[in-house]
Symmetry: C2
Subunit: 205 residues, 2 copies
DNA sequence: TTGTCAAGGACGAATGTTCGTTCTACCTTG
DNA sequence: CAAGGTAGAACGAACATTCGTCCTTGACAA
């Protein structure tokens, strides 16, 4: 019996997933062909189909991985020292797998995942689960601030959490679409958010 | 000569674009086939190809239309009475073409457009142009608030504007992915944002 | 250590399908 | 009735996937 070390099996999977991810970022899930992935991974069709049973399988695997990284970034924040509410955007900066990409690519891939979630009920459910958990984490953060009197307790923590989550998503969109200019600099973003958070309560024209 | 009334030509275009848009929302640009569009529009291939020279042409037309609607929503805000900063999200609620969809579908389509902008330089440029203009409008709104002392003048208006723009984008993502629950209710969202904006300036744990 | 072997792994041409698009014949309209 | 509009079959290209073949690997006996 010539069974190869299981680490090589995992390495091949990684090789394929990374290549596929690069392709998906470049062209989206459905405009990249299998041949694109094969070329990027420098493997033959037969080789790839040994590790994944279909293209949809590869799509699901890469998307799930991205969501898992996003979830991990939020969960890491829960146990860590509670940051200021205006640091929330930095959470997404942790979502970044070194060998592949800078944070820009991660943001771009997440945009593709959102789009795909609109047509794949399974992926959609996974995404909703991850964001539900993230909302819980951020909601706890908000509630803590409310208890410390740093934030009005009149408004449900969840509503504020939803705003912060939207900020994260919106920042990801900016980063994905506009790239690395001032608009996607997290420090400038945090600065703007801090200014907004210290506005006088009644803002009306 | 049997030239048909020009209004019918425009009506056919509209019919095709609307059908295509519905398909694109349902399945994304590249997972919907021409046959899907033909069936949805209840037209033959020959008919559709009289009005659009390719599928990419249809994609570009629908995407441009969506961006134009987004731009119009922002520009409408510029001339109108200046709303409170926390009303900014309502701007996107105007981006909604009646016969086609509720605001949910518009949000879903915009997510698809974002994803497509990552692979189409032309669409990307258009999107950047629209958002640049929107940033100018929102930036002016922020500057006005700063002049009235409702917002600190220490921070560049653009940075605050970027945060608000991200809020809009993030709200669109929520609306697209999660649908019509509390999280996508603009009133609740505005409520949360208002709470956040009246936080004490030093928010740190 | 080294030679042998069976099974796992990789390849790439082949397959059937589906895609976007075109073409020709027919119909409708002013 | 002529020109514009429509239909739907037909086309080649490109797609995801499979298959037969060959190569590589690790286990094991000597």
């Amino acid at each position: 019996m010539a069974r190869m070390p299981k680490e090589h099996l995992e390495a091949r999977r990684r090789q394929i997933l990374d290549a596929a991810r690069r392709c998906f970022i470049r062209n989206g899930f459905h405009a990249t062909s299998m041949q694109d992935i094969l070329a990027e991974a420098e493997l033959s069709a037969g080789a790839v189909y040994r590790y994944f049973k279909s293209k949809d399988d590869i799509i699901a695997a890469t998307a799930s991985e991205a969501l898992a990284e996003l979830a991990a970034a939020f969960e890491a924040d829960e146990s860590a020292a509670p940051p200021g509410l205006d640091d929330i955007v930095d959470v997404v900066l942790q979502v970044d797998r070194p060998p592949l990409s800078g944070s820009r690519e991660s943001a771009q891939f997440l945009v593709q995942v959102w789009a795909e979630a609109l047509r794949s009920p399974l992926l959609r459910t996974k995404l909703q689960t991850v964001m539900e958990e993230a909302r819980r984490v951020v909601g706890g953060l908000v509630a803590r601030h409310q208890r410390h009197g740093l934030l009005s307790g009149d408004v449900p923590a969840e509503q504020v959490a939803d705003v912060l989550m939207a900020l994260v998503d919106g920042f990801l969109v900016s980063r994905a679409v506009y790239g690395h200019d001032g608009r996607t600099d997290s420090a400038a973003f945090r600065n703007g958010l801090r200014a907004l958070m210290s506005a006088s309560g009644r803002a009306h024209g």
